[in-house]
């Protein structure tokens, strides 16, 4: 028996050593960086360039760059932070960093910016990064929506590109049809994400809501959902979804694929639609135009920050990384990579304009949204964002499923939003 035990002990030790040998050798210092954009067309090249530049100027420091899927991003990051092993370089969506800041997990960057003499005035969307008097992040991208459309499908029906709601809905209705005679619609006038989470759902709804002048909250953070404008906005959303003028139950990635395939005629989207359209086999037919509404959807997209609970030495390194990302050179490169204006007022967009054909349209969209103060993160509901969006999504779905009157739904949403806010 003893011999058996001894052999077992050796075997365990051997396998321990074998498994630990799989771990790679470490550089002197490793910064941990987690992002969902590691393989996104366009921005991934910018990040790769940033990482490479940083490593070149900091010999002995390596950046361990890990991809985490967007669908599991928040809970993965939450687990990492809650367990005490946050990434050094923090990359988050603009509507989810508030919880992290609330827990004191993000380092105040204001002193760093001040010392480095970087002026953030005029930095698009940066005001959203001010939390409790601290600058907890750097806004990486503020986008405005554009309308991507399929010229060929429009020409086939003989319609012009819409410039307002009435033209839009008429076009969408005409473009939704069955093309192969089996009585099942397989071409859709427009495409919305109705399968994603709450935040994506309300972003889609906002296309129509903003046009009527409705807002979720006002400048003071008071809930303003029970208004005639909101009721009209809800009615329009209901019409589009209920009559299946958009494919149902698909996430945005699949909708974009359908647009690329030529099965969806219009896609209201952020600038990320452009690289996809440009790479499509139908690229010649796919064009961009301003949204046919008074105000496009817009908002902060993603932010860059620093974990608060890391060593001072690492903090200095992470700061260098952030400063590099904010540098004029990298900001100019960002515009081309993201097909969208970079937030820095000093970024040089000439290269972007040359590379991205409809750049001016995209930039105009971002400006229009920014001027109107649009952000899909409603003021006064930042912390409860997830709950708020879930509620709105549910009530909107209820409206569609049970065929409710939008007026009643608006009232319900008002009441529930106020209750959430009070928590």
């Amino acid at each position: 028996m003893l011999k058996a035990l001894r052999n077992l002990a050796f075997a365990t030790a051997a396998s321990c050593m074998a498994l630990s040998a799989i771990a790679p050798a470490h550089a002197d210092t490793t910064l941990k960086f987690v992002s969902w954009q590691k393989d996104e067309p366009g921005v991934m090249d910018w990040w790769a360039a940033l990482v490479q530049k940083f490593e070149e100027s900091h010999p002995g420091v390596k950046i361990e760059w890990t991809k985490v899927a967007r669908s599991s991003y928040v809970d993965t990051m939450t687990t990492l932070f809650a367990g005490g092993t946050p990434p050094d370089i923090v990359h988050l969506a603009a509507f989810e960093f508030q919880q992290f800041a609330n827990n004191g997990w993000l380092e105040n960057l204001a002193p760093y910016f001040k010392e480095a003499g970087i002026d953030l005035n005029g930095w698009t969307g940066q005001s959203a990064c001010e939390y409790n008097g601290e600058t907890v992040c750097l806004m990486l991208l503020y986008t405005g929506y554009v309308m991507a459309y399929n010229q060929k499908l429009f020409d086939a029906e003989g319609i012009a590109v819409p410039t307002n709601w009435d033209e839009y809905i008429a076009a969408v209705k005409k473009l939704t049809k069955d093309t192969n005679g089996d009585n099942i619609p397989d071409q859709f006038g427009t495409g919305h994400d109705t399968a994603g989470g709450g935040s994506q759902y309300i972003t889609e709804m906002m296309n129509y809501i903003l046009d009527t002048g409705a807002r979720f909250t006002d400048a003071d953070g008071k809930v303003t959902m029970n208004t005639p404008e909101m009721i009209e906005g809800l009615a329009r959303w209901k019409m589009v979804v209920k009559d299946t003028l958009t494919p149902r139950d698909l996430p945005s990635a699949d909708i974009r694929q359908l647009f690329s395939d030529g099965r969806v005629a219009i896609r209201l989207d952020g600038p990320q639609i452009w690289p996809i359209a440009a790479k499509s086999p139908n690229a010649a037919d796919l064009k961009l135009a301003p949204v046919p509404f008074t105000t496009p959807v817009g908002g902060g997209s993603n932010v860059l920050g620093m974990a608060a609970d890391i060593s001072d030495e690492n903090k200095k390194l992470v700061w260098d990384f952030i400063a590099l990302a904010a540098s004029d050179e990298m900001q100019s490169a960002y515009a081309s990579a993201a097909s969208s204006p970079a937030p820095s007022p000093r970024a040089d967009m000439s290269e972007a304009k040359a590379k991205v054909e409809p750049f001016d349209i995209i930039a105009a969209g971002a400006k229009a949204a920014s001027d109107a103060g649009i952000d899909r993160l409603p003021k006064g509901l930042e912390i409860q964002f997830n709950e708020f969006t879930k509620m709105v999504k549910e009530e909107a779905q209820r409206m569609i499923i049970e065929d409710l009157d939008p007026a009643a739904v608006a009232a319900t949403m008002q009441e529930k939003a106020e209750a959430i806010q009070k928590q």
Binding site: M1, A4, L8, S15, C16, L19, S20, I22, A23, P24, K32, V34, W36, Q37, D39, E40, P41, E64, T66, K67, V68, A69, R70, S71, S72, T76, T79, L80, A82, G83, G84, T85, P87, N180, D182, I184, D186, S252, A253, D254, R256, Q257, L258, S260, D261, R263, Q272, I276, P281
Partner: protein, 276 residues
């Protein structure tokens, strides 16, 4: 066989139809992998792609470190199964041979552990593994998977050992063997089918895990398992379903392989495992 031709026909017909329906989703996965991206949402659906893209498998292997993920899944599964066997064989044997106080309630406790939702345990486990320095290492999932496997395998092995008459060990001990020696040298060889069934069960369970791998291995890309790797293939902006399906097909091959080998023992192992 005293079966009429009609009965035979009915039987074969039923078998073919039912097996066909039940296995159809797997077939669908396969042809999704082979389809061209723009044909994926073709109406009417095609039951065999017009231009099957056999190169997709090479493409996905080139594109993503599938072989690395495969290696990690295999290592994790082997480790989990190994650890579980080392732990549950003695445990099952003990419950079978010794009239231990609390032997029955132990069974219930073991069953209770099967009732725990993963979300409840994830953060405490995360902290434990961090303190042990195991985060990002395959050992964290090996241990976590073992906790999933051990309850059922202990119980299954206990049942299996129950069917083996104690005379065998007693004979060995009379010949000078120690009790544990008797267990190892006499009982284990005889219970090979039961062991194989337990090993298969453990392997499938470990292979299928996603929640634990996602929580403990995220920060260590070089240790990602297949399930974890595949879910990261869903881009935020666009998803290439053909590539994802191809990766899924490749991900199921190993477990199917093992299943093919050990399936015959599964029935036998389960039988003995639940009889008294």
């Amino acid at each position: 066989m005293r079966r009429t031709p009609l009965q035979s026909l009915a039987l074969y017909g039923a078998v073919i139809v039912i097996c066909g329906i039940l296995v159809f989703p797997i077939y669908w996965l396969f042809i999704t992998a082979l389809s061209q991206p723009d044909a994926l949402r073709a109406m009417p659906p095609k039951f065999w792609p017009e231009h099957p893209n056999w190169g997709i498998f090479a493409e996905v292997l080139n594109d993503k470190p599938l072989l690395l993920w495969l290696k990690n899944s295999v290592l994790a599964a082997l480790g989990a199964v190994g650890l579980s066997m080392v732990v549950s064989i003695p445990a099952g044997y003990a419950l079978s041979r010794f009239r231990l106080r609390g032997g029955e309630s132990l069974g219930l406790v073991i069953l209770t552990s099967k009732m725990l939702p993963a979300t409840l345990l994830v953060i405490p486990l995360f902290v434990i593994f961090r303190q042990l320095g195991l985060l990002g290492s395959l050992w964290s999932v090996i241990l976590a998977h073992a906790t999933l496997i051990v309850p059922f395998s202990t119980w299954m092995l206990k049942g299996y050992f129950d069917t083996i008459p104690q005379e065998l060990e007693q004979a060995a001990m009379v010949d000078g063997c120690s009790p544990i020696g008797a267990m190892i040298r006499v009982v284990l060889p005889v219970s090979a089918p039961g062991l194989a069934a337990t090993a298969l069960y453990g392997f499938v369970l470990s292979w299928a895990d996603y929640a634990y791998a996602r929580t403990f291995l995220t920060s260590a890309q070089q240790n990602w398992t297949l399930n974890l790797g595949i879910t990261t293939m869903r881009g935020e902006y666009i998803s290439n379903w053909a590539i994802i399906s191809a990766a899924c097909v490749l991900a199921t091959i190993p477990v199917l392989f093992i299943y093919l080998f050990l399936e015959r023992y599964l029935v036998g192992g389960m039988t003995a495992g639940s009889e008294k």
